[in-house]
Subunit: 382 residues, 2 copies
């Protein structure tokens, strides 16, 4: 049996652990070790205006954040930034809605269908339904989509929840009304091999999932078409009159350090992140292997242009399945582990999404409980 | 004739000045003089989680911000905070939408009518129409509203754009489906006498207009009803998964200092703000008096509980009218002054809204141009 590290937090042994959300607190230790290098100091009279750069299309984007974003994509090689507009958002959550809004408002007919291939990020459902907009309509699983007319396909790659590499599945190349939003929240070298420099029309990124700074609520979109970028900016103006400047300048500082150190063997965040994720995935796979109950997806190795070698994927979420007919989210809840139900992601009761980005002690408690579930099951069966 | 201070920025004499937005940069000088007292320092590993306080209804609200908000309202005496939920938002813009969404989702019939008495804050129109929600419908001027069924009245007091003190105008006291959102963005002692401690069901406040920190995008709602507060939180979760933690802790620090110093004769921001606004309003009134062309609203004096004496109002916007049949926003544009058209606020072409919160040099250039408009007009007439 796999040796599980004892949780230092004894009190936790009886408490509920929440792996439903992808709260990326796993990286706190790394940042603690960077000392003052990424510290920001903000004086009372700094950053008071609504405006950051009145001459730029996205006038509420701080220039230093725009520069840091370009530097980081350049250093990592995961996305093209030239000949594109950068739109900053209150997380990529706000940007995804801004993009759906922008594409819908420019579409010939409304409501525009919005689809994503199952299993999909469950929040897409909420984002596209909660205001009951007449401009677009959530139509669910892209694999089953056959409606005529304008549509938007949300492509998340690597995918949330299951970590697979995704392309569009509704392919209507001759259709002017076919639009795609690429969500690249997890297309970073600690999670997946960087196999190409993406250059799609609308690409979404989020600070949270790169470095773990979820509390800052910073995301950005790289947008080719000027009209689409303009409409996204208009959406964000009405939605929140721009984006926190404090978060922007902090993100700028951290992303700049990330870019500067990403090729260093001792200081690279991506090296650290990859090692941590590898370690967690190996432990999880061992627990799953020793059980006869659970399943995990397998990911092909691929050559990573960033690390210069062939590598595996270590997704930010584990997409855990069972071989038995059971309601896995309830089974886990009984073990005091909160996870996201597969059904919410357009899948079934036999699957759940579990965050791999919790603090180390929480992750270890999770593994213990998962291992015990198997044992309990065995006892039940005999 | 009123003596106008020469603008220090000579280059500005020919440039467009934008007083359309209420960018509150007027207060930068005050904050510059506070030195380090309000400086915040944020380390790389601070504020990483989505969560601030998992035991509080609004779990993304930083505790120190909640404390500072309560202290400040206590010290100023402008609003009751006890027995209410505090919901933080990305500006009161996001909160206003959250409140409309919450009340609509709890209403018996939909779409819920949304109204505000003209002249109203023009952004309310955009906020309630841009997503084309099926849950609520902007029905314009509350004075003319006579539809049956659920409705929400937005009451801004002091009012934006015209600075008047407002109460509800659609009064259906026996109607369970009658809801009110009170926007108290300007109910602070530098703008208006604090005549009572407000204790309405949903009260909105914004950091921007108190201290001038518009770039932080921080607002808060004081909400009596738990279900409404819950629905507002749900809206903000789907809209942006919470609110920037950096902005929250900076706002907390500044609001705390504001509360601690607000009774000091030498350090009080409200004393400073009131003097500055008084000075600007006196200059503006003198320019307007010397013209036969423009009009300004008159505000009654009232006893201010905060300052302990009878005081005038000095609103954050000037609601300028003309006695002649003209398109005032275009007239001002020809003088290179951007203002907000009265028509956008449910009023007419003869009115515009002009920000009183620009930097000092911009304000002085505005006065010069306004004075010249009168002179030019006189020349035309002779």
């Amino acid at each position: 049996m796999v040796k599980l590290e004892n949780s230092k937090n004894i009190a936790m042994s009886d408490s509920i652990i929440n792996l439903d959300h992808g709260d990326p607190t796993a990286y706190e230790d790394f940042w603690r070790k960077t000392g003052d290098r990424c510290t920001v100091t903000i004086r009372a009279w700094d950053l008071m205006s609504y405006f950051s750069d009145v001459n730029y299309l996205c006038w509420f984007l701080e220039r230093e954040l725009a520069e840091a974003i370009k530097e980081l994509h350049g250093a990592v090689g995961n996305a093209a930034t030239e000949d594109r507009y950068i739109v900053v958002g209150t997380g990529s959550t706000q940007l995804c809605q801004a993009a759906v809004h922008a594409l819908s408002s420019l579409a010939g007919t409304q409501p525009v269908s919005v689809v994503a291939a199952a299993p999909y990020y469950s929040t897409y459902v909420e984002e596209t339904t909660y205001v009951r907009s007449g401009m677009y309509k959530w139509e669910g699983d892209a694999w089953r989509f056959d409606k005529k007319g304008s549509y938007i396909e949300l492509v998340t790659s690597p995918n949330n929840p299951d970590g697979t590499i995704r392309e569009t599945v509704v392919n209507r190349p001759d259709d002017d009304e076919a639009k795609v939003i690429h969500d690249y929240a997890y297309y970073w070298p600690h999670y997946t091999p960087i196999t190409r420099r993406q250059d799609n029309d609308i690409m979404l990124f989020t600070f949270s999932k790169i470095t773990g700074h979820a509390g800052s609520r910073i995301g950005w979109a790289l947008v080719k078409d000027k009209e689409v970028a303009k409409k996204m900016v208009e959406y964000i103006i009405v939605n929140s009159i721009g984006v926190s400047k404090e978060s922007q300048i902090r993100a700028a500082k951290i992303l700049k350090v990330l870019a500067e150190t990403c090729k260093s063997e001792t200081e690279s965040f991506f090296e650290y992140g990859r090692e941590m994720m590898k370690n967690r995935w190996e432990k999880l796979r061992e627990v799953v292997k020793e059980s006869d109950v659970f399943t995990l997806p397998k990911y092909p190795e691929a050559y990573c242009n960033f690390f210069g070698k062939s590598l595996e994927s270590y997704p930010a979420f584990a997409w855990i399945g069972t071989k038995e007919e059971t309601d896995l989210v309830s089974d886990l809840r009984r073990q005091k582990v909160m996870s996201r139900a597969g059904e919410r992601c357009g899948s079934d009761k036999k699957h759940v999404r579990v965050s791999m980005l919790s603090r180390e002690d929480v992750f270890n408690v999770f593994l213990e409980r998962l291992a015990n579930m198997k044992l309990n099951k065995s006892i039940d069966e005999h």
